[in-house]
């Protein structure tokens, strides 16, 4: 479904992403792992068009989406959540998700119909699914960190995507919130049949929910394979454990 080949981007001579490759099949959950600064977020930014690559190609469902604007990428069916909380601070939880739905339905040019009567059911359904329905009318700035991370995902879901990119969905969450969030990701896959690409530092989470794993070190792809492949791959161990020969976990 998503095919990334030899993608590169450098900032002031520093190669943040250097010939990265990645493939995600329909219905899969794929994790990107790698040490801090390996270029995971940059890779996601390149795929979603926030920054433009110097070289390489991104194919989505056979179409070339390299270098498109983020809004164009979104309209192809790719949604994304951010590592740093990135919600609409002054708007209520409901409005946060609703605007995403309205945007998908291309209604943001509608100047005269009151928005308060639009897309209510769908918004509420998404909030129900992610468990934010109780805080529906709170301003998003008033939410806890964990709730805002979930709202991140809810906004992404408002675009009714086929393909969901999650950038460290559980970062900064309490253990209970983390458990709930993992449950949510599993549900999204099973109930909505979403294809999910995510990155995460917690290896336990990575191995428990992903079908395949891509390992990135210093901007390059080292390996992409099943959990088993990755677990015992020598290079991964070198990168993570400094050459120790015990298997990860």
């Amino acid at each position: 479904m998503l095919e990334v080949t030899s993608l590169s981007k450098s900032f002031d001579g520093f190669k943040a992403v250097n010939g990265a490759g990645l493939s995600v099949k329909e219905g899969e959950v794929v994790a990107v792992i790698g040490p801090n600064g390996a270029g995971k977020t940059t890779l996601f930014n390149l795929i979603t068009g926030v920054i433009k690559p110097d070289a390489g190609k991104v194919l989505f469902k056979g179409q070339d989406i390299t270098g498109l604007h983020p809004y164009q990428v979104c309209r192809k069916g790719i949604s994304r959540s951010f590592q740093v909380v990135n919600v609409f601070q002054r708007r209520t939880v409901f409005e946060n998700v609703q605007v995403s739905i309205l945007s998908r339905e291309k209604k943001t040019w509608n100047l005269f119909t009151p928005a308060s009567k639009m897309a209510i059911e769908e918004t509420d359904r998404i909030l129900q699914n992610v468990g934010l329905i109780d805080v529906r009318d709170k301003t998003s700035a008033a939410l806890s960190h964990g709730e805002r991370k979930v709202l991140e995902i809810a906004i992404a879901l408002g675009g009714n995507p086929e393909f969901l990119i999650l950038d460290e969905p559980t970062a900064g969450m309490s253990p209970e919130e983390t458990t709930r969030c993992i449950g949510l990701i599993k549900e999204l896959r099973e109930k909505l049949g979403l294809t999910i690409l995510f990155c995460e530092h917690d290896m336990e989470i990575v191995f428990s929910i992903s079908d395949r794993i891509m390992v990135m070190v210093r901007g390059s792809t080292i390996i992409q394979g099943t959990c088993e492949d990755v677990r015992c791959c020598q290079e991964v161990q070198d990168a993570y454990l400094g050459g120790s020969d015990t298997c990860l976990m």
Partner: protein
């Protein structure tokens, strides 16, 4: 609770409109004039707040659209020889087109750079108007614009201003509450995220700037009706700053905030400058107090208190 709060607000607005309609019956001519000035200045500030408070765009030189709207109307009436009512359409339209053009040049810049380029483009327009004696009358401006009979009397001018301002305010309100307004406020809070949910940020902002220019122009046209003059100082940058102050004073995030801010500033200017020549000093001190103690404006503060009360009961 929420319903009744909303209901009471609506009641206040209706009561306010009725009082405004009755004004000319019991107020002297000067006060009717003042009320009209407040209304149209408030409309201008509200149209600025449409992009500033709701859109998060640093429109630092909004007075240009106010001035261009006024000049467009006055020149159309004076020079074209066509039906004078046409002037009231042409003025705002020219302002809207100018809003679009300035927007096209500025929209790829962010925040402070946007504001500065906007000021320079606005100053360019001001300089042209200021110097083009043969067409705009230069720094003298234009006096005694002939108006259609119904709106040439003070009361006629007042009612025309009231009705047009009322309609414009309703339209702007409706736009803020529409999906367009929703997306616009999303862009204000988080442009990166907006783009990522499929909003074409630049186009959205451009449309907003055009709309704001149009209603700024409407306010300018109304000034021609009320005051019968136009002059280049209507688009000098200090007036733009005053408009921003009105938004700040009333509160960016309350719809009627800028209108209220306009009322306060216009009244202050009229009365304080009657007492002392140091009216700017008074304005400056008030502004500083607002910035330090009421960063959300007066109406924003009232809103906060109301919300707290609602939560307690």
């Amino acid at each position: 609770m929420k319903k009744s709060l909303l209901g009471s607000k609506l009641l206040w607005v209706i009561a306010g409109v009725i009082v405004l309609f009755l004004f000319p019956l019991f107020l002297e001519r000067f006060y009717v004039y003042l009320a009209a000035i407040i209304l149209l200045t408030g409309l201008c500030a509200t149209s600025l707040n449409f992009v500033l408070g709701y859109g998060g765009v640093f429109q630092f030189h909004h007075a240009v659209f106010y001035g261009v709207g006024a000049y467009g109307t006055a020149l159309m009436i004076l020079k074209s020889g066509l039906n004078p009512w046409l002037g009231f359409i042409v003025g705002p339209l020219v302002a809207a087109i100018l809003g679009l053009i300035i927007g096209l040049i500025c929209v790829r810049l962010s925040k402070l750079y946007f504001g500065m380029l906007q000021i320079s483009l606005g100053s360019l327009v001001w300089a042209i108007v200021y110097r083009w004696y043969s067409f705009t009358g230069g720094d003298d401006g234009i006096h005694g614009v002939p108006l259609p009979d119904i709106i040439s009397s003070p009361n006629g001018a007042y009612y025309f201003t009231l009705i047009i301002t009322g309609i414009s305010m309703l339209i702007l309100y409706r736009m803020i509450k529409s999906p367009f307004g929703s997306a616009l406020q999303g862009i204000r809070d988080n442009p990166v995220r907006s783009e990522m949910i499929g909003v074409n940020v630049r186009f959205q902002q451009l449309l907003a700037l055009t709309i704001a220019g149009f209603f700024g122009g409407v306010a300018g046209s109304l000034f021609v009706v009320v005051d019968n003059t136009v002059f280049p100082d209507m688009m000098f940058w200090t007036l733009s700053m005053e408009l921003v102050i009105m938004c700040l004073l009333g509160g960016w995030f309350s719809y009627l905030g800028p209108m209220m801010g306009a009322a306060v500033i216009v009244l202050l200017r009229t009365y304080v400058s009657g007492i002392t020549v140091y009216w700017a000093l008074v304005l400056g001190v008030i502004m500083m107090l607002v910035i330090f103690f009421l960063p959300n404006g007066v109406l924003g503060y009232v809103d906060e208190i109301m919300r707290k009360k609602a939560r307690n009961t």
